[in-house]
């Protein structure tokens, strides 16, 4: 039972990192990306590939994953600079579809549909992290760092510029803000941190395949942000906790066939998104949105 709870807690930490980084671009930069799972996948595949081929050093994996994800983020930043919100959603959706195809077809690197199995545990300074409790500690530290760093950025002058752009791009431009640079940097930060979650995920599960990085995953991450409350500090964390525990809770319903749990989960958060938008568009934690 303890092992089960530790496992859930580790996954909650990883999902919370994903939700926070997505919230950073959605809530503060106004960039609604349906391609977040792409960068999660990039992080996971980089970590897995490096662990299998070269090194199990967590540090090297993190640096490589963050750099690669950050570079790929140009594919998001470019359309985000060119068109406004609704069209950008379509571009990110297309990017997600394309990336899913690459993940499942580039067999020499990603292992195709079957994925990569037997990923060796990551090590920090020569110490291999095999104990789940230790790994949970690692994930929790990573989450804490991401929360602190992201909150610090949001409250800095960079964060205020970002919000200014979200609320009125032309006004920010008139005030002499370098809109293109600020947007590009924020997308870079978000995707690089998202890749950190991918690295942790691959090292933790020691098995990854394309299933975890599809449009369904991107939708789930977006739902976490929205259900919790977009543009708030605690919203994405609350959303990540709720939506990660939901499938676990559903398994206790005896009348639900196991194979339908995924679909029932998606129906629940789909419905939650619709109802929240009608009755409380700020999300569950949105009441305190005054300072955001």
């Amino acid at each position: 039972m303890i092992a089960y709870l530790i496992n859930l807690a580790t996954l909650v930490c990883i999902n919370a990192i994903l939700a926070i980084t997505l919230n950073f671009i959605m809530g503060y930069a106004g960039i609604f990306s349906l391609a977040h799972a792409v960068f999660f996948g990039v992080g996971a595949y980089v970590a897995a590939f490096m662990a299998l081929q070269w090194t199990d050093s967590l540090l090297f994996q993190l640096v490589a994953a963050m750099l690669l994800a950050g570079l790929l983020s140009a594919a998001l930043a470019l359309p985000a600079l060119r068109v406004r919100g609704d069209y950008f959603v379509a571009a990110s959706l297309g990017f997600q579809v394309l990336a899913t195809t690459v993940f499942s077809e580039w067999k020499s690197v990603t292992g195709g549909i079957g994925g990569l199995v037997g990923i060796p545990p990551a090590s920090i300074a020569g110490h291999a992290i095999t104990d789940p409790v230790e790994f949970f500690g690692l994930a929790a530290v990573a989450l804490a760092l991401v929360v602190v760093l992201t909150t610090a950025i949001v409250r800095s002058s960079f964060g205020r510029s970002l919000k200014a752009i979200r609320d009125s791009e032309s006004a920010a431009l008139a005030f002499g803000k370098n809109v293109a640079l600020i947007k590009t940097l924020s997308v870079f930060y978000s995707t690089a941190m998202c890749a950190v979650a991918g690295v942790l995920y691959a090292d933790y599960l020691s098995f990854i395949n394309v299933e975890s990085f599809t449009i369904d995953a991107s939708t789930l991450f977006m739902a976490m942000v929205i259900v919790g409350g977009i543009g708030t500090v605690w919203g994405p964390i609350v959303g990540a906790v709720l939506l990660t525990l939901l499938p676990a809770a559903l398994t206790y319903l005896p009348f639900l066939p196991r194979t339908e749990i995924g679909s029932v989960q998606q129906m629940i958060y789909g419905l939650a998104m619709v109802l929240l938008m009608i009755f409380k568009p700020d999300g569950l934690m949105g009441a305190k949105q005054g300072e955001a």
Partner: protein, 290 residues
């Protein structure tokens, strides 16, 4: 000969893409609602037709009529009970998009639960190919797709240009206040746009169920193509959406000439991406970066 075959397939697919995209574009143009659940409308009408015609063996005109009724009810209900309330409190793009997206997620999973997630297709004599020339196979559905697409498009242009309600629909996209001043109810006009836009997916849904088949996730794909065609064609231009749909269909099939089928969606994305970066206003549209 392979190339010609691919172009013909592309025209067939593209005609249907164009028709679906015109429906999306019509709704978006008139009401400014980013109707992400347009793909869900497609999936619903396709599965209603499949269930009645192929499972319950109902006569085909009745099956198609039922698909039309269900999809129009779905579209109008969304406008009334989801978009309407959202717009009355907070009409931002984001809230409408999330609400619409939530509906699409629910519909996709409901269909998956009820009908299964595998591929299904409706057997029909119309999709049997005939060898027109050596190595060139064409099914009657190709001709039907093109004829229906052209007919619907011409009918739609006449409707928008000649009838009062059609003119009101175009006026709504310019200025809702003016529509109200003129004594018309913008809500009623918006309902018409949703009914008509949703109705336009039916021919594509029915023909697709006979040719390439359906699965529960088809809504997402249709959605991507409709939005891509709307952007590539130029927002607010129905003619642009139709042409772009045709272009995407042909490009997708031409990609098969050199690449494996799983890459054909990549063609859609590359065209969309190129247009967004190089020409965000599309073929015929206005700039969209404001």
């Amino acid at each position: 000969m392979l190339l010609l075959q691919l172009i013909i397939n592309g025209i067939q697919v593209g005609a249907l893409y164009g028709l679906t995209a015109v429906g999306f574009s019509l709704i978006f143009g008139a009401t400014k609602i980013f109707h992400f659940a347009h793909g869900a409308s497609f999936a619903i009408s396709a599965y209603v037709f499949y269930y009645l015609y192929a499972v319950l063996l109902v006569w085909w005109p009745i099956s198609i009529l039922a698909a039309c009724i269900v999809v129009v009810v779905f579209g109008v209900a969304l406008d009334r009970y989801v978009y309407g309330p959202i717009q009355s409190t907070d009409g931002s793009f984001f809230t409408i998009f999330v609400g619409s997206f939530g509906v699409a997620v629910v519909v996709q999973n409901l269909i998956g639960t009820v009908f299964g997630r595998g591929f299904i297709s409706v057997p029909s004599a119309l999709s049997k190919s005939v060898e027109l020339a050596p190595g060139l196979y064409v099914a009657p559905t190709a001709a039907i797709a093109v004829v229906i697409a052209v007919a619907c498009f011409v009918a739609l242009q006449l409707f928008l240009g000649r009838t009062n309600i059609g003119i009101a629909m175009r006026a709504l996209s310019e200025s809702p206040a003016l529509v109200r001043t003129f004594g018309l109810n913008p809500k009623a006009v918006s309902t018409c746009a949703f009914a008509l836009g949703s109705l336009l997916v039916v021919p594509a849904a029915v023909l697709t169920s006979m040719t390439s088949g359906l699965n529960a996730a088809i809504g997402g794909r249709v959605m991507l193509i409709s939005v891509a065609a709307t952007i590539v064609g130029g927002v607010g231009s129905l003619r642009g959406a139709a042409c772009a749909g045709l272009l995407l269909g042909i490009a997708e099939n031409l990609a098969l000439w050199r690449f494996d089928p799983q890459w054909s969606e990549a063609a859609t994305f590359l065209i969309l991406f190129a247009f967004i970066v190089l020409r965000p206003s599309g073929f015929f549209g206005r700039a969209v970066n404001s």
